[in-house]
Amino acid sequence: MKAQSYAAAGKPMSGGDGGRSAAQGPLLRIEDLTIGYFGQDRDEPVRIIRNVDLTIDHNMIVGLVGESGSGKTQTARAILKLNTRPLQPLEGHIFMDGVDLLALTGEKLRAIRGDKVAMIFQDPRASLNPLMRIGDQLARIYALHQGISRAAAQAEAIEMLRRCGIAGPERVARSYPHQLSGGMCQRVMISLSLGMQPDLLIADEPTTGLDVTIQAQILELIQTAQRETGSSLLLITHDLGVVAEVCQRVAVMYAGRIVEFAPVDELFTHPRHPYAIHLLQASLALEAPEKAAETPASGYPAEASPSLELSVGQETYQASLESARDPDATAFMVEVSPGHLVLGTPVTVDQAVPSGFLSGQAGAKV
């Protein structure tokens, strides 16, 4: 799987660290994005995503984490203007190469979708047409986006499937989605997106619902592709284990706001927002082995049994959540160290996570 080269495909690309990554500021800049809908009285909109700022640099993998309903998916969909009614962006801008994507419509928007920004959805089977063979679906899109003939697009489709680690790509190209496993469908979706060589790939929970060994394959594939093409990736997940393994920066969302945005190492070692600390500790609470006392050789602290006790104190925690939920938000992002932003008042905990506690395994699903 590791030997594939995406850089060989079609249009020239800057690989690795070179080329465009050195240039002109971030790839994508979301500024003060607010998404909502108008209720029955139509006066005041209900804002479900509020004042989101997020930058994605060139050649970078950014994680977006949060629990269900925190607004991860809607934020990402706004980049492609895919929010479905009644939801709509109410305020803010999403700049890419100096163009505000939210202002685009029609042909100009279509020129962005797929070519510059592509998205992999959570349920791959639902995003493939059940009535078309895989090869035909891919070829149709390649022909459309790359302006090549249908026959050339068919060949390209098979080539992309092969690069994405699919054994027997000819056979898969002749199959219908229902004949393939979930992992295989996700690989098809990834090859579809990569074939368009987007500058930004958005992956919305690409491995949720897949078995852990398949998840490892898919993450490896996405990472390899990202490295080789030098494109950027926005990875939406609720799994901090995946974030730790794959991402360079991570944004934590809660109740429609980003509460912390930091380099991955920073967030895992020095989280500063109470909710981020809580989320991290919740993920880690499950790490402690059963009967830690009986296995002293493992090096766990004796009292490492799972505990939801917050090292920040219940009052501070609740206050921070309320402040994040407050519709008339006055709290803003504070930069606590270079590139590390926290909503409201940052807290400092001595040890968000006891050393040695972290090094256990587990973390996610099979």
């Binding site: 799987m1 629990e67 269900s68 680690g165 054994a167 496993s181 992992g183 295989m184 078995d211 852990v212 060994t213 398949i214 998840q215 490892a216 394959q217 993450l219 490896e220 609720h238 799994d239 901090l240 284990g241 995946v242 974030v243 730790a244 393994e245 991955v264 190492d265 895992f268 070692t269 809580h278 989320l279 991290l280 919740a282 993920s283 880690l284 609470a285 499950l286 790490e287 402690a288 082995p289 059963e290 009967k291 296995t295 493992s298 090096g299 766990y300 049994s305 799972p306 939801l308 050393s355 040695g356 972290l358 090094s359 256990g360 395994q361 587990a362 973390g363 996610a364 699903k365 099979v366």
Partner: protein, 346 residues
Amino acid sequence: MNGDSAPILRTVDYTKVYDIPGGRLYAVDGVTIDVWPGEAVALVGESGSGKSTLARGILHLEQATSGEMYFKGEETTHMSEGKFRSLRRSVQMVFQDPKLSLNPRLSVRQTVTEPLRLHHIVPRNQLEKRFREVLDMVNLDIRLANRRRQELSGGQQQRVAIARAIATYPDFVVLDEPTSSLDMSVRVQIIELLRRLQRELGMAYLFITHDLSTVRTLCHRTIVMYLGRVMESGPTEDIFVNPKHPYTKALISAIPVPDPRVKKARIILTGEAPSPTRRIIGCPFASRCSYVMAACTEGAIPMFDVGAERRHQAACILYRDEQWHRRFEEETRALTSAIRDRQGPS
């Protein structure tokens, strides 16, 4: 763990085959396991490994194709439904999705007291007392007693399902992915609750999951299944720290670690699981295994003792021969030590 007492559940060569168009699906193929009183056992495996089919068999919801199953020493596969009903109060189940397992028309009170009435667990005038007792155990507020399913959050719903399961004083509870529909922070609370209840009430658990992160804090012992067979079983820590079967090694190595400072040695499996519609001769993992040899597909692979103590066993031919075993350990040492390193302080 209980010395010479008898297992609460024992399956012997339990097999469940479904007839499907174009073949026979061996969902569970010759599974032999024990669960002892007061023990929490994890049954882990990827989708299609047969873990839920086995659970349905244990609860007498499916007829076995062959093999035996003993519950407290009584053979149940040939038992009539009427006869099994008397056992139901002592074996309970919590399902994956409380939205589907709770009756939307019943209040919390009705849901939890229904099994009490059906099994005549307590006299009528004691129903409310037992109800409050159980509600208290799962940390649900009595003010929620008259609410219905849709008026509760996901975590509260699962607490109701757990309350219903433990109300009848069961000795054995089957938990089928009880936390996979829940968010991380709620998931931790439910695992905490299950852990406390298990320790306080001394029930045995069979905890079915594909979420390995929940296993380690909850279960004493872990059984790993793959395509209807048991691949490895042993004390949970041994399985996590020193997995023996090549499949278990790959499975454990594939779990993402929530610590960016840890760089894992990872086995990336190639290919996908073979179709289970034809009966697999030998090891079902052979087609994806890097250590495969002729003997793997020649005949049934028995469980070999692989641990120094406490019933750590793996169904891998590498452990039949001392020489193979040593060479295999040699080759995977880098990986095993990487797994071990994660145990130490960082």
